[in-house]
C-alpha cells in the first residue's frame, strides 16, 4: 500500500507544479502582495459570518455567541481592566528619574497612536511593536525595562489603547523588501502547525472561530489583536499580546519563543495589517 500511495502523491504534486506554471497568477517567486492578502483575509471572514457586522469582529468570541456577548456587555459596565487603565494613566504621567515621561518618546505624546503599531522601522529593518517601543523608551531614559507579560506593560498598553478606542487600525507596509519579508514571515508563522497538538493559529482562529475548545469560544483571527491588552478571567489578570502568544504556544504543547522575538513581532505585524480599517477596542475583557 505504501509504495502505491507514495507514487500517487508523487504524480499529484507533479501535476500541481505543471498547473501552477501555466496559471496566470504565477510570478517568478511567490510575490508578496499584502494588499491582496488583506482583502482576501477580510472577505473570507465577511463571507463566513455574513451577519456579523465588520466592526464586531474586533470583539473576538463575543461576535460569535449572543449569550456570551450579553455576559460581556454586562461586565463592560464596570470592566475588570478598570484598575489597569487607571494604573497605566498614572504611570504614563509619572516622570522617570531623569524627569522625562513616556509622552516624550512617542508622537503626539503617546495619545491616540496605538492604531499605528506595530510599524516597520526602516533604519533597523525590523518590526517595532508598541510593547517594544515602551521598553526602549524606558531604557533610553535610564529605567529598567518591564516584563512583556506582566501587569506594568499591560497597564501602559491598556492606557495607550484606550486613548485610541474606535480609531481604525492603520498599519503601513513601506515599499521595502525587508518589510514585505517581515509581513510574509508573520503570515508563515500564522499558518504553520506547531506543538504536539499540531495546530497552527489558523487551525483554531480561521477554521473554527465560534466553536468551542472546552468552555472557551474561539475568536475569529480578523481583528483578534484590536482589543489588546486584555483582562482574561482565565488569568484573572491583564495580559499583553506577548502573554497571549506565549500561552497559545504552550496550549498546543509548543515551547514558546522569547517574548518580542522576530516571529512574534512579525505575526503581530501580519495580523494587525490584515485588520486595517477595523476599530481599536482595547483594553478588552475576555473569558
Amino acid at each position: 500500500m505504501k509504495a502505491r500511495s507514495a507514487l500517487l502523491l508523487g504524480s499529484l504534486s507533479a501535476a500541481l507544479v505543471a498547473f501552477a506554471l501555466t496559471s496566470p497568477r504565477v510570478i517568478a517567486a511567490d510575490k508578496v502582495d499584502p494588499v491582496a492578502d488583506a482583502k482576501a483575509f477580510q472577505n473570507f471572514f465577511f463571507q463566513k459570518f455574513p451577519n456579523v457586522t465588520h466592526e464586531d469582529f474586533v470583539n473576538g468570541p463575543y461576535s460569535m455567541n449572543e449569550d456570551m456577548k450579553r455576559q460581556w456587555q454586562e461586565k463592560e459596565e464596570f470592566p475588570p481592566y478598570e484598575f489597569a487603565l487607571d494604573a497605566g494613566k498614572e504611570m504614563f504621567s509619572t516622570p522617570f528619574k531623569n524627569g522625562k515621561t513616556y509622552a516624550d518618546c512617542f508622537p503626539n505624546g503617546g495619545i491616540g497612536i496605538r492604531q499605528n503599531y506595530p510599524y516597520f522601522d526602516t533604519k533597523e529593518g525590523k518590526v517595532v511593536t508598541l510593547e517594544l517601543a515602551l521598553n526602549r523608551c524606558r531604557e533610553a531614559n535610564g529605567e529598567a525595562p518591564y516584563s512583556y507579560v506582566k501587569d506594568e506593560m499591560a497597564s501602559l498598553t491598556a492606557y495607550m489603547a484606550f486613548t485610541s478606542r474606535g480609531k481604525p487600525m492603520d498599519i503601513k507596509i513601506p515599499d521595502d523588501p525587508r518589510a514585505l519579508a517581515a509581513f510574509e514571515n508573520g503570515k508563515r508563522y500564522f499558518y504553520t502547525r506547531r506543538g504536539q497538538m499540531n495546530f497552527s493559529c489558523a487551525s483554531c482562529h480561521v477554521q473554527s472561530p465560534g466553536e468551542r475548545i472546552r468552555a472557551e469560544t474561539l475568536a475569529p483571527a480578523l481583528g483578534i489583536l484590536n482589543a489588546m491588552p486584555i483582562y482574561r478571567s482565565e488569568w484573572s489578570g491583564m495580559g499583553t499580546t506577548s502573554r497571549r502568544f506565549v500561552t497559545c504556544n504552550s496550549q498546543t504543547r509548543a515551547v514558546p519563543l522569547e517574548p518580542q522575538s522576530d516571529e512574534y513581532r512579525d505575526v503581530e505585524y501580519f495580523l494587525s495589517y490584515v485588520a486595517n480599517g477595523l476599530p481599536i477596542s482595547g483594553p478588552g475583557a475576555r473569558p
Partner: protein, 103 residues
C-alpha cells in the same frame, strides 16, 4: 495610593443606582501556587454602604465572591450631591473606606 474601591452612584428620580468594583485578591485558601504551597484565605468578609447616616446596603461575603469583586444595587431616599460612604473589612482584619458623591 488610590483607594481600592471604585464607585459609581447615579440618581434618577428618587432611585439611586450604585455600582462598586473593589480591588482585592479574594483568595479562597483552597488554591496552591506553582511551588505547591497553599495560598492562604484572604477575602473581604463585610462591605457596607452608608448614606445620610443610615446603612443602605450591607454585604457579607464568603470565599466564592470573584477576585476584584463587583456589586450593583439601588436604593431610595437619596438625591444628587448626597454622600455615600463605602467601607470593607477582610478576614485578615485589613480594611479600606472611601466616599463618593451621588451624580
Amino acid at each position: 495610593m488610590a483607594s481600592s474601591i471604585r464607585v459609581r452612584a447615579t440618581a434618577n428620580g428618587d432611585i439611586t443606582e450604585v455600582q462598586a468594583l473593589i480591588q482585592h485578591p479574594m483568595d479562597t485558601g483552597l488554591v496552591k501556587d506553582s511551588k505547591g504551597e497553599v495560598i492562604p484565605a484572604h477575602f473581604i468578609q463585610q462591605l457596607k454602604f452608608e448614606c445620610n447616616g443610615k446603612d443602605v446596603f450591607v454585604a457579607d461575603w464568603g470565599t466564592a465572591v470573584s477576585k476584584d469583586p463587583y456589586v450593583k444595587f439601588s436604593f431610595k431616599g437619596a438625591k444628587k450631591g448626597d454622600e455615600l460612604k463605602i467601607s470593607w473589612t477582610d478576614n485578615k482584619g485589613a480594611s479600606d473606606a472611601t466616599t463618593a458623591k451621588i451624580a
